[in-house]
């Protein structure tokens, strides 16, 4: 279960395109996650989970592909340690964004309402473990995010 947090901490999580931060002792560079999902409640709670249950210490949230692109263009793409992307975005297919993120060297966990993981992984170029359906459990999602964070190593942003 997550550590107890208070309402002030909740306030930090996040206006769309804004940054919420929680600096963590032990690694020199900020590890920032880009969360792209049009469901505000799910996105907001996932942001807290990423920061409280992994060594990620900042999040940037986007509710559409356009907002995600704005967030990426407003910063050096290397400032994002990883991204969690809903493939079913309102303005465009999230697969487009995943291609752009991978080209920028940003590891991605994709979520989709579709259960056809293999097709989705094939389309997006991701490994099967990097694509989860919205039918996945909390443990599966957290495990996948943690795996990506572990793969970053100590020196990565």
């Amino acid at each position: 279960m997550l550590a107890t947090m208070n309402s002030e901490q909740t306030e930090k999580n996040v206006p769309i395109g804004g940054v919420a931060s929680r600096h963590v002792e032990g690694h020199a560079r900020t590890r920032r996650v880009l969360l792209v999902d049009d469901h505000a409640l799910f996105r907001g709670v996932l942001a807290i989970i990423c920061e409280e249950q992994t060594s990620l210490d900042e999040n940037v949230q986007a509710g559409s592909l356009a907002e995600a692109r704005r967030a990426l263009s407003s910063r050096n793409s290397k400032s994002f340690a990883l991204a969690v992307v809903d493939l079913d975005l309102p303005d465009e297919d999230g697969v487009e964004l995943i291609g752009e993120l991978r080209q920028a060297g940003i590891p991605v966990l994709a979520l989709s309402a579709s259960r056809d993981h293999e097709r989705l992984a094939g389309v997006s170029g991701l490994e099967p473990g990097q694509v989860l359906s919205t039918a996945a459990s909390y443990d599966e999602i957290l495990g996948a995010v943690r795996k990506l964070v572990e793969d970053l190593g100590e020196e990565s942003p």
């Binding site: 279960m1 997550l2 208070n6 469901h39 505000a40 409640l41 989970i49 509710g63 909390y138 999602i141």
Partner: protein
């Protein structure tokens, strides 16, 4: 900090379809993390009626509307899984609609329901 005098525990049930288990689990974990004195249970939507009867929750967050046979609840959030469609929120008998409510909006519902626990003349949902 949460500073509640004589905070009353409340029971919260999150019930969404299995196809959206990620949402169900994550929302339940998040509520409990941010309001640790609450008792949060999550259940498949097909178990809603059974779980409402078993748990007698004060707050229900579900993708379906309240029904008379679910009994009287302090709050019921009919959470739309489509962010473009409004979610319907009832707290203490007052109904509102919210488009794509976020975490803070949901916590407001929980907090308001908590304030209503034990109140007399409180409307029900």
């Amino acid at each position: 900090m949460h500073e509640r005098e004589e905070a009353a525990d409340i029971r919260i049930l999150v019930a969404l379809e299995d196809d959206y288990r990620a949402y169900r689990d994550v929302i339940a974990v998040g509520i409990h993390a941010l309001r640790p004195h609450t008792e949060v249970t999550n259940a498949a939507l097909k178990k809603l009626e059974e779980e409402v009867g078993r748990l007698e929750p004060d707050v229900v967050i579900s993708s379906v509307a309240a029904r008379a046979d679910y009994g009287q609840r302090l709050a019921w959030v009919e959470l739309s899984l489509d962010p473009a469609r409004p979610s319907k929120v009832c707290v203490g008998g007052r109904f509102t609609e919210r488009i794509n409510p976020g975490l803070e909006a949901l916590l407001e519902v929980v907090d308001e329901a908590e304030r209503l626990v034990g109140s007399e003349n409180t409307g029900a949902c």
